[in-house]
Symmetry: C2
Subunit: 215 residues, 2 copies
């Protein structure tokens, strides 16, 4: 799911469009229900309808966009049931990924996570929703990359993608002064080599924000 081609030497037009839209969706730069048109995308990226269509179809296949019965495409408006299910999926997958990353997590990685976490805190203090989502996902991805489980990570990213448009809405309702407390628990558990603690911390981090959105 991450890289369509095994070699990304020649970025085709549809791939460029795909990546741009994907990033926009995953980072909460689209609101739920917001519509897109093929001709509009084509115009924005200077391509014809063909690559625009392929990008959109691919994103629809990944659940990042919704296709209405008439073929109109828009960012999904998730039901509470679906949000809860996606949150459960995040918990299931990311706990496993973190657990697999734990034995390989050396100091260099933990340092990097702490640096990223400072950026997360900065985004929170700046009330930068998009920046917060991006750095937060970067924190998780950096950890999970150590799990050496690309298929699992790809699926986890697909779940993030599906939650993207809903994320910003979450940020709005969220008690914003919250520094990333759970991230510190994750880092502490990594340092201590405490697997049960790590699993719990990841589960809490992933579940907490989404629970209040669904409820």
């Amino acid at each position: 799911m991450l890289s369509q081609k095994t070699s990304d030497a020649a970025p085709s037009a549809h791939d460029r469009v795909y990546r741009a839209l994907r990033s926009r969706i995953m980072h909460g730069q689209m609101s739920p229900g917001e519509a897109l048109t093929l001709r509009g995308i084509g115009k924005e990226f200077g391509v014809s309808m063909t690559p625009a269509r392929e990008s959109v179809r691919r994103l629809v296949a990944e659940g990042a966009l919704t296709l209405s019965a008439s073929g109109r495409v828009s960012a999904p408006e998730l039901s509470n049931e679906r949000i809860e299910e996606l949150a459960a999926l995040r918990a299931l997958l990311e706990v496993e990924l973190a657990s697999r990353a734990l034995p390989r997590a050396h100091m260099a990685l933990i340092d990097r996570l702490q640096t990223i976490n400072m950026n997360v805190a900065e985004m929170v203090s700046k009330r930068d929703a998009v920046g917060y989502i991006r750095t937060n996902l970067e924190f998780h991805r950096t950890l999970y990359l150590r799990a050496q489980a690309p298929a699992m990570l790809a699926i986890a990213e697909t779940v993030w993608l599906q939650l993207g448009p809903t994320m910003r809405a979450l940020y709005g309702r969220l008690g914003r002064t919250e520094p990333p407390h759970n991230h510190k628990l994750i880092i502490a558990a990594l340092k201590a080599g405490d697997e049960p603690g790590l699993r719990l911390a990841v589960r809490s981090d992933v579940t907490h924000g989404l629970r209040l959105l669904a409820g």
Copy 2:
């Protein structure tokens, strides 16, 4: 992932092609490495390259097909690491799905599972690889549908899809006389309301065959 459109009233050309190819891949009717061409697909289904391309792109996005650097498309040849990872994913997801289905599993469902299981046994005795794969997946899907977790089920089916072309290769090496013993354990655990037993049985069923393929 399952239904591209919320309403499947008007089956568009690319959707028809997509479904046909998807079924072919998932049921092991394509060998790993087998190539496809857009014009060939178009000719086979009586459509132009456009719907053929969309179907293929969608299947590539789902990991059901592999796109070479030059855009050529073929059924994936999975590495052992990837097979093991996909097996782990199946275990993770399907144990959860079974666990969620358990409290909702009434007698009617168990009866249905037993009927399907007879078909599985029949396919095994007939040495029908495709039929075996199809009925086996039907067994699992029937159970998981009770979990009321469409997103999770969709992801599980994506994993099945990725394993599809490899499945038949598995069947060849598999001790074929094996009747679906683990399926009986699953049914027994469902009858007894035994959640730990169910989790173990599902994990064994999902993991066993794939382990020897990867090893």
